[in-house]
């Protein structure tokens, strides 16, 4: 077995050891399940029962958690679990052909386990490696820059059951690709710089407020105000406490700046968390690290150890009595929704990642219902710099309403994809010029839930007052089909909806199905009107931001890139989603008949090329 473990009689011992390591604490269920699965490859019914008994949780709850996350398996998936990143940028780089090649060589169908139980190949949502795609995860370790040659090598390694540890190291190499540094990435910062400059918690809070720092996740709430609310809130119950949470569940398609910050600037992030803890009065912080970044766990823990040794974490930080703070890394398991802060908190408590009702807000009732400040990775890194260098310095960068810099993750059609840091206010056209984009047809900014902009908008600026973004910046040149971009995003949301509320659970599926129907040449004006109806329902009635924004990409492309839809629309108002002639094919096969009488003739289908015929026009 590649992991050197078997799913045999020692399962009970594995479960017992992992439970013991976590004190059988039900709030640590996510970590318990992940650590067990790393040993046993999948979570069998028996394992779920044992975990439930050990953690004193209803079995249904444990099964429900295991069933929620994409990276937990309640059915065996093979010793080698290959997941191809399926973001639109991976598609543009040719992932579909490469995955088909891999499946063919392994005699596999996507999503199915090989007969010998050795391997399964499937797709997953964006893995945060768009600057070096097509990418895949094999047993949750990223492999970048896939080529046909690399596919063949991997197939050989799998066939020969070569343990992952013996695979060529360059397969797993992940580049930072930092192309432009500014105030944050270019800062001269040594671990402890911000902590050494600390004054009273109130003074630090005032500086954060004065700096104008706003949340980098995209929503742009004032960080100082958030910390102020959290600091003022009172913990409840016998375990009253405040918490700091770093949201490193970077799941928005096309975003990978947190990956780079955590790979090469972890000290800055951890120092920001420590300062946040100092201000709000928290002794404990969590980094919620997305499951796709599992490979960063050990390096990050090593940084934490170094910081503890240097008295930058732990008890009496830098000799200050009463200043105690430590950080723990919590690993996610493949659920985009956990980037939503209340879903993240649920997940952190070992539950299904379903967004909570608000109010109450996390600042008053967050992790374990205690006051909690949830901040983006980049926000915390910026906070550390402000604490070290002062509010005035920071405020002088950017625009009056958007202080500081923004890190963009640039991918798609350009010469130099990677990480670019700009002062807020930079024009889209400037960004495009810097990364070597040519003949650009569109930019998708802020990811699948963000904004598709056309060339007449390239004079717009990256700033909270114009285009706010978490950092995703995907470029599409004139050869790309914007309909397919939107269709890819529509499917992304089907996969990532938590399913809690009706409009999102059903609406995302109806939207993707309608896009597929159009793609297959069965769409008409009727379908476009249905799409609008679904988008309105999603926007109005969804429980959280995921559903509310799930229709954005389709809405934007329908408005700005309408010809890409028109090309595919049928001339008729309505066309059913199935093909009557195709439906008869099984009968033809069974009866051995293929004469004209065995076919359903639709003459108009032959005459319709789709090209040049506008929907609604008489044919």
């Amino acid at each position: 077995m590649p992991n050197g473990n078997s799913n045999g009689s020692d399962t009970g011992a594995v479960v017992a050891a992992v439970l013991a390591r976590h004190g059988s604490d039900g709030t640590r269920l996510m970590q318990i399940l992940r650590e067990i699965q790393e040993e046993t490859e999948w979570l069998s019914p028996d394992i779920l029962t044992r975990v439930a008994e050990g953690a004193k949780l209803p079995r249904g709850q444990v099964e429900g958690v295991a069933g929620f996350y994409h990276f937990f398996h309640t059915e065996p998936l093979g010793s080698y679990r290959v997941l191809w990143s399926d973001n639109i940028t991976d598609r543009m780089a040719g992932n579909a052909d490469l995955m088909a090649r891999m499946c063919k060589k392994l005699w596999l169908k996507p999503g199915k386990v090989s007969e010998d139980g050795l391997v399964s190949v499937d797709t997953t949502s964006c893995t945060g490696l768009c600057d070096q795609g097509p990418a895949l995860l094999v047993n949750y370790r990223p492999v970048t820059r896939m080529t046909a040659e690399r596919v063949d090598q991997i197939v050989d390694l799998i066939r020969h059951k070569t343990p992952l540890a013996q695979w060529p190291a360059e397969f797993f190499h992940v580049d930072d690709n930092i192309r432009r540094k500014d105030a944050l990435l270019g800062a001269d910062f040594k671990p402890g710089d911000a902590l050494k400059a600390l004054k009273s918690p109130q003074e630090v809070l005032d500086a954060i407020k004065e700096s104008g720092l706003r949340g980098r996740g995209g929503a742009g709430f004032s960080t100082g105000q958030k910390w102020d609310f959290c600091r003022a809130a009172v913990g409840t119950g016998p375990h009253a406490a405040h918490y700091v949470v770093c949201n490193a569940d970077e799941g928005e398609p096309g975003t990978f700046k947190d990956r780079v910050l955590l790979s090469s600037y972890a000290d800055l992030v951890f120092e920001g968390m420590t300062i946040s803890g100092y201000v709000i009065g928290a002794k404990k912080g969590f980094v919620y690290l997305r499951g796709e970044y599992r490979y960063l766990l050990e390096p990050l823990n090593a940084v934490l150890e170094k910081r503890r040794a240097a008295k930058l974490l732990g008890k009496s930080i830098l000799g200050r009595t009463g200043f105690d703070f430590d950080i723990e890394i919590h690993l996610g398991a493949g659920a985009y929704i956990c980037g939503e802060e209340t879903a993240l908190l649920e997940s952190l408590e070992g539950k299904r990642g379903v967004p909570r009702k608000r109010p109450p807000f996390p600042v008053t009732s967050g992790y374990l219902n205690q006051p909690t400040a949830v901040n983006n990775v980049e926000t915390l890194a910026s906070a550390a710099l402000i604490a070290a260098k002062g509010a005035a310095w920071y405020k002088s960068i950017g625009t009056p309403k958007s202080a500081g810099t923004k890190i963009l993750s640039i991918s798609g059609d350009c010469e130099r994809p990677g990480i670019y840091e700009y002062p807020y206010g930079v024009k889209v056209s400037q960004v495009l010029a810097d990364c070597g984009a040519r003949d650009t047809q569109a930019c998708q900014i802020a990811g699948a839930s963000g904004l598709a902009i056309a060339p007449n908008e390239f004079g717009r600026r990256i700033a909270f007052e114009d285009i706010p973004t978490g950092g995703s910046f995907m470029i599409f040149d004139n050869t790309r089909d914007m309909f397919q971009v939107a269709r890819n995003f529509a499917h992304f949301f089907v996969h990532e909806s938590c399913g809690f509320c009706t409009p999102c659970r059903v609406g995302t599926t109806l939207l993707a199905n309608a896009m597929d129907k159009i793609d297959e040449g069965h769409g008409g004006e009727y379908d476009i009107s249905d799409i609008w109806r679904v988008i309105r329902t999603l926007k109005t009635a969804s429980h959280c931001g995921l559903g509310q924004t799930a229709g954005n990409a389709v809405a934007d492309t329908l408005q700005k890139f309408r010809p890409s839809y028109e090309l595919r629309l049928n001339v008729r108002d309505f066309e059913p989603a199935f093909d009557l002639d195709k439906a008869l094919s099984k009968m033809r096969e069974v009866t051995g008949r293929d004469d004209p009488g065995a076919h359903f003739h639709i003459n108009h289908r032959k005459s319709r090329s789709g090209l040049g015929t506008k929907a609604g026009e008489p044919s």
Binding site: P45, P58, G64, K357, E496, T502, A577
Partner: protein, 256 residues
């Protein structure tokens, strides 16, 4: 009472007590707001979204003298606290149309064959669909494959009709203290599960008298040997539409 707090529901003044949500206050005052996952005996859930309302829309006059309505925020009235003076729109065309769409979404997601369903005539989904004038499911059917679980001696589960309101989950956890039901999967794969290693209801400790066995608003949790007992014309919603008696959905007042 001079100090009673009130808000406006479709321009009608509704009194409320501190801590009540909009739907609780409305139902207590005899005003019906459509809902499926809300139940007067349980903590609000906010998942079906049928009770969505618009709050505090305003009309402004533009420079050229036109009146323009700026829509207020939409919110589930079961999880939104009532606030003094707020204006809530419920029975307005836009919101009723939204509700019809949500009903249609639920109708295509599951397999709802009303004529052959034992719950017909007393099913909240069916009753609400009739009340809102839903004439068809509109969207393409999923035709989802859902198994039936007949393993329990007294209770049958027909998952075909599950609308994922989680009332049985809540009833079993909060009232029966048994946790017989839970939710697994996510998105379109979200589904109801039973608390047993086999996954079968027969291997749980559910009793036919449990609250969880008697709270299903649709025809998922059915009692065996009790099908079609009430003749057509005499079933619950044959006699009066679902919206006819809002008081039956009003929160149960706690005895002081």
């Amino acid at each position: 009472m001079s100090d009673a707090k009130t808000f406006f529901l479709d321009e009608e003044e509704i009194p409320f007590e501190e801590g009540q949500t909009i739907i609780q206050a409305a139902l207590s005052a005899g005003k019906y707001i459509p809902h499926l996952c809300y139940h007067p005996e349980f903590k609000p859930h906010g998942s079906c979204k049928l009770c969505t309302v618009r709050i505090d829309s305003r009309t402004v006059t533009t420079e050229d003298g036109q009146s323009v309505k700026i829509p207020g925020r939409a919110a589930a009235s079961c999880t939104t606290p009532a606030q003094a003076g707020q204006h809530v729109e419920s029975e307005v065309p836009e919101i009723q149309d939204l509700r019809r769409t949500l009903i249609q979404m639920l109708l295509v997601e599951g397999n709802h064959y009303c004529p052959s369903c034992e719950k017909s005539g007393k099913c909240l989904l069916q009753g609400l669909a009739y009340d809102l004038g839903v004439m068809d499911p509109h969207f393409p059917q999923y035709f989802s494959k859902r198994e039936v679980d007949a393993s329990h001696p007294d209770v049958l589960l027909d998952f075909n009709r599950c609308i994922l309101c989680e009332l049985c989950v809540r009833a079993s956890a909060e009232v029966d203290k048994k946790n017989v039901f839970a939710i697994s999967g996510r998105g379109h794969t979200k589904h109801l599960i039973c608390n047993s290693e086999s996954g079968e209801l027969g291997d749980t400790n559910l009793a036919a008298t449990d609250k969880a066995a008697n709270v299903c608003p649709v025809g998922v949790i059915l009692h065996k040997r009790h099908g079609f007992e009430v003749p057509y014309g005499q079933r619950r919603f044959d006699k009066a539409p679902i919206s006819d008696n809002p008081a039956q959905y009003a929160p149960v007042k706690e005895q002081v």
